[in-house]
Symmetry: C2
Subunit: 159 residues, 2 copies
């Protein structure tokens, strides 16, 4: 499970870097699908991961205003900043927590932590798939979505 | 891990159903991104999952000719047919297999089974993200990519 978070972070960072060549116009252009714009999709990925991790950690949600971020360096800074808290949570994760139930502060329904963890994982991969289409349309070589070949298991040791 | 395979299958089936309203022209239209066409993307998802499961099972690859399939009912039939063998493999999976290494018949490199399993999982989610963009462009409501709310853990019992 942790390895898939690390995979997501690596791919996310590579997309932020790849999109750094885009004009503000392209970054903020409404593409009529997914979250609309490239910058909102990246922020939404970061926001959703953070919200659910805090829910698993039984902390209230801190909402992120997607309209506040003006460029990719700001997005990257937010992403890196929130990872400190997320890493702390992930590093104490163990499979005995799978069946614990929590109710996120923004919902009136409880979920098993194992279910939430998987929800977080597929959420980012799904939106990255959307970004790959837009990348290609904009003449940017999409980032490899391969899990193999990234040496993720070894990198986990330094997480 | 098994739960994410079940999630992938459920979302895949829902997309095949949602796309059944599309004309052949739209299904086979080159969209200049991802695998090119909607039908090829679906077949590629099925093909890659099957190839890697057979590799984990130390069986030689059986390649699928993506140009042989003429409509979505044929794609669905292939998907359902291959699931029988995949299910059998998945049902004997246990975490002790994580570090076993295998070399797929089409490569000259070995990988840990745990690495391959995660590769299979994210591969489908990534391509489904691409399909969600094309769905929206074609006026089809994209399938929910949520893991929560699908009751996957309970459905696993019948897998």
């Amino acid at each position: 499970m942790k390895s898939l978070i690390l995979y997501n972070w690596e791919v996310r960072d590579e997309y932020i870097k790849a999109f750094s060549s885009l004009s503000k116009e392209e970054l903020f252009k409404d593409r009529n699908a997914g979250l609309g714009t490239i910058i909102k999709t990246l922020l939404h990925i970061i926001d959703v991961e953070y919200s659910w991790i805090r829910a698993m950690n039984k902390k209230p949600d801190i909402s992120i205003n997607l309209d506040e971020y003006k460029d990719l360096p700001e997005v990257l800074e937010l992403s890196n900043q929130l990872r400190v808290e997320i890493k702390e949570y992930i590093n104490q994760w163990n499979d005995n927590l799978e069946n614990d139930r929590v109710e996120p502060s923004w919902m009136e329904e409880s979920f098993r932590k194992g279910e939430i963890f998987r929800h977080i994982l597929v959420h980012e991969v799904h939106h990255i798939g959307q970004l790959s289409i837009w990348a290609r349309e904009l003449g940017i070589e999409p980032i490899s979505s391969n899990f193999i070949g990234r040496d993720i298991f070894n990198k986990l040791k330094n997480m």
